[in-house]
C-alpha cells in the first residue's frame, strides 16, 4: 500500500521531477479539479493568505491592524455561513494566521472538521492543523473529531494516517484515548515504519492520559526494540520508558522478557552499535551518532538499573565506554555525558564509575558554557545526597556561582549550597550565603532566609553565633522574612539568658536606624527591648558589643514614638511596640529625683491609641491605659519578665488566641463578644504574654476530667503552636490532673488538686446518639457550675454546637456574669448572645457557641468567667481539654 515511500530510490528532488509516481494524479482528482475550476470562475475569489498577511503587516497601528482583521473575520464568517467549500481551505488558513496574532478564532472549529472530512489531501492537511491549533480538550466537537480520526486511521494513504496520528498525539483527551486506543494498537503493528513510529508515540500519549490502557499495548511494544529503523527505535524506547515509569509490574515484565532477548543486553547492544559504528551521515550530529536515540536509551537504562544489581552490572561497561569515548567539544557530546552521569549516579554502579561521573561534573562546573554549568549544578544537587564528600570538593566553585548574573544558575547554586552546609563549614558557608542574601532578588529572599535560619538552627556552633546570624538575616532579608523567623528568634533570645544583654543592645542599634522595610526586625527588637529594657539601660556594659553609651529613657521613648507614629509600620509591628512600651514602664528604674517624666510620656503615648482608627490598636490602647489607672496595682506583676520559652519550635506561629480582657472596664459588661478575636500569629504572642504573666498568681485552673481515660497524651500532643502557651504555664498545673483522675474536689486554692472531677450524667445513663454527645462540666466552684452540652448536627459534620449552661448553686445572686471562650487557631468559634448577665440563686444563664472544626483536631478551649458575687468581683480562668472524642472526630 505504500509503494512509493518504501522504495529505496525515493529522492528529495523537487516535486516537478517526481510526478510520474504521484498516486493522487488520477482521473478522479482531475475531474474534481475541473469542477473546482468552474466553481472558481463562478465565485469571486477571496483575499489570498499572502495578501492578507501583507495587509496586516502593513498596518501601522494596533487599531489599523484590528480593522483589517475584523473585516477579514467578518468576511470569513459569512463564507462559513454560505457553506463555501471551494475556498474553505484558504479561509481557514487565514483564520489560523489571525489566531496566532491573538484574535479569537473559535468559530472556525467546525469548519476545520469539515475540511478534515474532505477527500482532498490539502483540505485534510489544513483541517488537521486547524484542529490542533483551535481545539482544546473541553470542546464538544471532540466527539466529531474522534469519528474523523477513526475514519482516517483506516485510510489507505499513509500520510492521511500520519496526519490523524499526529493530531491524536497532540490533542488526545482521555475520552479520545479510550475510543481510539484499539486503532492505535493495530497501527503499531503496521508493516510501514512511517506509521509504526507515529503510532508508538500516540500510544505513549494515550498511556499518559489514561494509564489503565497500558496493558493492551504491551505485546506490540515488545517488538519495537528489534527494529533497525531509528525512528521506530526511538519511539519504542520512549514508549517503554513511559510504561516502566508508570508501573513497577511493567518494569519487571520488561526486565524478564522482551521479544527473544532480555531488554538490558538488547539496549546495551544498540547503544554499543551506535558508538562503535562508523560515520553514518543520516544520523550524525557533529560527529556523534544519533544523540537523540543515545540519550533515550541511557534514560531507559537508568530506570531499568535502579535498585537492580544484576541489571546495573550488565550496563556498567557500556556506561563507562560512553563516559570515556564521547567527544566533549560540542554541546551534543555534553548532552550524552550529562545523561550518562545521571544514569551512573542512579543505578547501583561500581565505585570507580561514580568517581568518573563526579569528575565529569567537576569538569562541567568549570566549563565556559553557561548551559553546561547549569546542568552541572543541577546534577550535583541530585547526587549530593548520595555522595556528599564528592560534591564538597567543588564547594568553592559552587559558591562562586552564587554571584553569577544568570538567575537560573544562582537558584541552583543556592539550593546546592544549602545542601552542602554542615557543622564544619557553617561559618564560612553562612558568610557567603548572607552576602548572597543581601544582594539577592526579592524572589530569593524568603526561601534563602528560611534556609539560613534552618541551617543555623541545626549547625550553630554556639548561641551567640546563632543569634548574630539571625539578626543578620532579619536585617538582610527585611520584610521578606517569614513570620516563623520572628517567633524563632524571640524564643532563642528568651532561652539564652547569657546573651540577652548582647541581644538587646544589638537590636537597639538596629532599631535606631530606619526599619520601615524591616518589619520583622522591628518586631523582634521591640519585643526584646520590652522584655530586657533594663539590661539595655542599666545592664553591665558587655565588652564585646558596642553598647549604647548614656542612653536615657527619653531617647528610647522617642524611638518608640517614631515607630508608632510612622505610617510605614504595620499594625502588627505597632502592637508589638505598644506592648513593649507598656512593659518598659516597669523596666525603667523609677529614679527618686526625677519623678516619672518618662512614665508620664509613656502614659500619654498609650492614651492616644485609645482613639486610634484601627480597632486592634484602639483596643490595646484602651486596655493598656487602664493599667495606668484603675489597675495600676496589677501592672508590675502583669508585666513581669517572661520565663524562658524552651519548647517552642520555629514553626510555632499559631497560638491560641485569647480574649484580651485584662481590664474589665465598666462598659465592658454589656459588651457581648460575638466573635472572639483569634489573634494573628505574630501578635498573639504579645497578647499571650500579657495574659500569661498576669494571671498565674491569681488564676486557679480547673481542669475537668470525666473518667474517660484521658492520658497525658493530649497535653504532650500539644501542637507546637500551643507550646508557646505551655511555656507560660509552667507554674500552673494544667498537665497534672490527668494523672490523678479521681481526686476529690476540695476547695484548696493554689493547688493542682483543685480540679473538679465530675462524671457526666449523660455519659453513664444514656447511650449517645449519633449527634448527641455527653455533656461535660467545665467549671464548678464557689457556687457556680458551668455545664457544656455538646451537639453535632448531622447535616454539617464540621460543626459542634455547645450549649453553655451556667447554674448558680449558691445562695447569693451573681451579677455582671460574663462568659468568654477561646479556641486554638485551627478552629472557628462563634458565640451567640447569652440569655442574661444576672444569675439569681438556683437560676441559670445559657449561651450557645458554635465551633467549626474542619481539621477534625482534638478540641481544646479556654474559658474565662467573670462575675460579681457577694465577696466582690471574681475572675476565673480554666482550660477544657477533655472534650469526648465524639465531639470532634
Amino acid at each position: 500500500m505504500w509503494p512509493y515511500y518504501e522504495t529505496e530510490d525515493w529522492s528529495v528532488l523537487p516535486p516537478e521531477l517526481n510526478r510520474r509516481f504521484n498516486p493522487a494524479f488520477n482521473m478522479a482528482s482531475i475531474k474534481q479539479a475541473i469542477n473546482e475550476a468552474v466553481e472558481r470562475v463562478r465565485m469571486p475569489a477571496p483575499t489570498r493568505l499572502r495578501d492578507l498577511i501583507r495587509q496586516i503587516r502593513a498596518a501601522r497601528t494596533a487599531a489599523e491592524e484590528r480593522t483589517v482583521v475584523n473585516k477579514e473575520c467578518a468576511y470569513i464568517r459569512s463564507t462559513f455561513r454560505e457553506e463555501d467549500s471551494v475556498w474553505r481551505c484558504r479561509n481557514i488558513a487565514k483564520l489560523l494566521y489571525i489566531h496566532m496574532l491573538g484574535y479569537p478564532a473559535h468559530f472556525g472549529q467546525l469548519e476545520c472538521l469539515k475540511l478534515i472530512a474532505s477527500p482532498r489531501f490539502t483540505d485534510k492537511r489544513i483541517g488537521y492543523l486547524g484542529a490542533m491549533l483551535l481545539l482544546d480538550e473541553r470542546q464538544d466537537v471532540h466527539l466529531l473529531i474522534t469519528n474523523c480520526l477513526k475514519n482516517d486511521l483506516n485510510s489507505s494513504t499513509q500520510f492521511v494516517i500520519g496526519l490523524a496520528l499526529c493530531t491524536l498525539g497532540a490533542i488526545a483527551s482521555p475520552e479520545m484515548a479510550r475510543d481510539l486506543a484499539a486503532e492505535v494498537e493495530r497501527l503499531m503493528k503496521s508493516p510501514n515504519a512511517y506509521i509504526r513510529k507515529k503510532a508508538a508515540l500516540c500510544a505513549f500519549r494515550i498511556i499518559r492520559r489514561v494509564p489503565e490502557l497500558m496493558e493492551m499495548f504491551l505485546p506490540a511494544t515488545r517488538s519495537l526494540l528489534t527494529e533497525k529503523n531509528h525512528g521506530v527505535l526511538i519511539t519504542g524506547v520512549t514508549l517503554i520508558t513511559e510504561m516502566c515509569e508508570n508501573s513497577i509490574d511493567t518494569l519487571n515484565h520488561f526486565k524478564k522478557e522482551c521479544g527473544h532477548r532480555e531488554i538490558v543486553p538488547n539496549l546495551v547492544r544498540i547503544l554499543k552499535n551506535l558508538i562503535l559504528a562508523g560515520y553514518s551521515p543520516e544520523h550524525d550530529v557533529s560527529g556523534v551518532s544519533d544523540p537523540f536515540l543515545q540519550v533515550k536509551i541511557l534514560r531507559l537504562l537508568r530506570i531499568l538499573g535502579r535498585n537492580d544489581v544484576d541489571a546495573s552490572e550488565a550496563m556498567n561497561d557500556i556506561l563507562a565506554q560512553v563516559a570515556t569515548n564521547t567527544e566533549t567539544s560540542k554541546n551534543v557530546g555534553n548532552t550524552i555525558l550529562y545523561e550518562t552521569v545521571l544514569s551512573i549516579m542512579d543505578i547501583k554502579s561500581e565505585s570507580g564509575l561514580r568517581v568518573l561521573a563526579v569528575n565529569i561534573l567537576g569538569r562541567f562546573l568549570l566549563n565556559n558554557d553557561k548551559n553546561i554549568r547549569y546542568v552541572a549544578l543541577n546534577t550535583l544537587l541530585k547526587t549530593v545526597y548520595v555522595d556528599t564528600s564528592a560534591v564538597q570538593r567543588h564547594r568553592s566553585t559552587i559558591l562562586e556561582c552564587l554571584k553569577d548574573p544568570d538567575v537560573s544558575i544562582r537558584r541552583r547554586a543556592m539550593e546546592l549550597s544549602f545542601a552542602l552546609v554542615n557543622s564544619n563549614n557553617i561559618r564560612t558557608m553562612m558568610k557567603e550565603l548572607l552576602l548572597f542574601l543581601e544582594r539577592a532578588d526579592p524572589e530569593f529572599k524568603a526561601q534563602c532566609s528560611s534556609n539560613i535560619v534552618m541551617s543555623a538552627e541545626r549547625f550553630a556552633p554556639n548561641k551567640r553565633w546563632h543569634l548574630e546570624t539571625l539578626f543578620k538575616v532579619l536585617v538582610a532579608a527585611g520584610n521578606y522574612v517569614r513570620d516563623d523567623v520572628v517567633a524563632c528568634t524571640i524564643q532563642l533570645i528568651s532561652e539564652a539568658q547569657a546573651q540577652q544583654g548582647y541581644a538587646v543592645c544589638a537590636l537597639w542599634r538596629a532599631l535606631e536606624r530606619d526599619t520601615a522595610d524591616k518589619q520583622p526586625l522591628a518586631q523582634v527588637a521591640t519585643w526584646c527591648i520590652g522584655e530586657y529594657g533594663d539590661l539595655l539601660l542599666y545592664g553591665p556594659p558587655s565588652e564585646d558589643v558596642e553598647a549604647p553609651v548614656n542612653l536615657t529613657e527619653d531617647e528610647v521613648i522617642d524611638v518608640y514614638q517614631r515607630l508608632l507614629w510612622s505610617p510605614q509600620n504595620t499594625v502588627v509591628t505597632k502592637q508589638y511596640t505598644l506592648l513593649s512600651l507598656t512593659k518598659l514602664s516597669t523596666r525603667f528604674q523609677q529614679g527618686n529625683d526625677m519623678p516619672l517624666s518618662f512614665y508620664r510620656k509613656i502614659r500619654q503615648i498609650i492614651d492616644t491609641f485609645g482613639s486610634n482608627l484601627h480597632i486592634e490598636l484602639q483596643q490595646r490602647g484602651v486596655e493598656f491605659s487602664q493599667l495606668f489607672r484603675k489597675y495600676e496595682h496589677l501592672r508590675t506583676a502583669l508585666l513581669e519578665r517572661m520565663p524562658p520559652m524552651e519548647t517552642a519550635k520555629p514553626q510555632a506561629n499559631g497560638i491560641i488566641g485569647l480574649v484580651n480582657g485584662e481590664s474589665e472596664i465598666e462598659e465592658d459588661k454589656t459588651m457581648i463578644l460575638e466573635q472572639l478575636p483569634v489573634a494573628a500569629p505574630s501578635d498573639s504572642s504579645a497578647l499571650l504574654d500579657l495574659l500569661g504573666s498576669s494571671d498565674f498568681d491569681t488564676e486557679i485552673p480547673a481542669v475537668v476530667d470525666n473518667n474517660i481515660p484521658v492520658t497525658a497524651a493530649p497535653v504532650i500532643n500539644n501542637n507546637d503552636l500551643l507550646d508557646l502557651l505551655g511555656g507560660l504555664d509552667l507554674s500552673t498545673p494544667i498537665s497534672a490532673p490527668p494523672s490523678f483522675p479521681q481526686v476529690q474536689s476540695t476547695p484548696q486554692i493554689f493547688s493542682p488538686t483543685n480540679t473538679s472531677n465530675f462524671l457526666v450524667d449523660g455519659l453513664l445513663n444514656s447511650s449517645p446518639v449519633q449527634n448527641e454527645i455527653p455533656s461535660l462540666v467545665a467549671f464548678d466552684k464557689l457556687g457556680l457550675k458551668i455545664v457544656l452540652k455538646l451537639e453535632r448536627p448531622s447535616e454539617t459534620p464540621d460543626l459542634l454546637v455547645i450549649n453553655m449552661l451556667a447554674q448558680n448553686v449558691g445562695s447569693m445572686e451573681l451579677t455582671e456574669f460574663l462568659f468568654q471562650a477561646a479556641v486554638p487557631k485551627t478552629f472557628q468559634l462563634q458565640m451567640l448572645s447569652p440569655s442574661g448577665t444576672v444569675i439569681p440563686p438556683s437560676g441559670q444563664v445559657t449561651q450557645v457557641m458554635k465551633v467549626t472544626n474542619i481539621n477534625k483536631a482534638a478540641l481544646r478551649m479556654r474559658l474565662r468567667i467573670s462575675y460579681t458575687g457577694d465577696s466582690g468581683p471574681v475572675l476565673e480562668q480554666t482550660e477544657v481539654n477533655n472534650f469526648p472524642p465524639l465531639a470532634w472526630q
Binding site: 510526478r19 471551494v86 500520510f159 496520528l165 525512528g231 548574573p405
Partner: protein, 164 residues
C-alpha cells in the same frame, strides 16, 4: 515530554505555537505573554534555561527568532537544544536558508515540518532525510492541481490553488 514550543520574534511577536498539553486558550495566551517578556528581558550571555513555574524552559535565538520549548523536570535540557537546532536545520533545508519572513508567510509549512519531527511532544524521527522526504511527498500529494492551473509564475503551490 515537551509541553509546548513557541517561536517569536525579537519584537515579541508570536510566529508559531505548538501545544502538547491541553490548556484553555486564555491560559495559553497568558503563558505566551509572560514567557516572551521574561525571555526577551534576559541578557544574551545568560544560560538558555529558565525555571518557570513547574516547567523548565529551554530557548535559543537564531537570528531574529527565538525558539522556546517547555520541558518537564526529568527531560534533558541539553538535548532540547539539539531538538531546536534540528528543527532549524530542517527549516533551513526546506526553505533554503530560512529567514523570519519565510516562516511568517509559510507558517503552515513550519507546522508541517515540526509535525514530522515531533509527535505528542516526543521526537519521532532522528534522520533529517526522512523528515524532508515525508514533507516532500505530502507536498506532492497536493500537487496535481499545479499542472492544471498554472496561471502565473508559481511562487509556491498554495499560491496557485486556493490557499495562497
Amino acid at each position: 515530554m515537551m509541553q509546548f514550543m513557541l517561536l517569536f520574534s525579537r519584537q515579541g511577536k508570536l510566529r508559531l505555537q505548538k501545544w502538547y498539553v491541553a490548556h484553555p486558550d486564555k491560559l495559553k495566551k497568558k503563558i505566551t505573554r509572560e514567557l516572551i517578556t521574561t525571555i526577551l528581558a534576559r541578557k544574551p550571555k545568560m544560560s538558555s534555561f529558565l525555571e518557570w513555574k513547574d516547567v523548565k524552559v529551554v530557548y535559543k535565538r537564531y537570528a531574529s527568532l527565538y525558539f522556546c520549548c517547555a520541558i518537564e523536570q526529568n527531560d534533558n535540557e541539553l538535548l532540547t537544544l539539539e531538538i531546536i537546532h534540528r528543527y532549524v536545520e530542517l527549516l533551513d533545508k526546506y526553505f533554503g536558508s530560512v529567514c523570519e519572513l519565510d516562516i511568517i508567510f509559510n507558517f503552515e509549512k513550519a507546522y508541517f515540518i515540526l509535525d514530522e519531527l515531533l509527535v505528542g511532544g516526543e521526537i519521532q524521527e532522528t534522520s533529517k532525510k526522512n523528515v524532508l522526504k515525508a514533507i516532500a511527498a505530502q507536498d506532492l500529494l497536493q500537487e496535481p492541481f499545479i499542472i492544471l492551473f498554472q496561471e502565473e509564475t508559481p511562487q509556491g503551490f498554495f499560491e496557485d490553488h486556493g490557499l495562497g
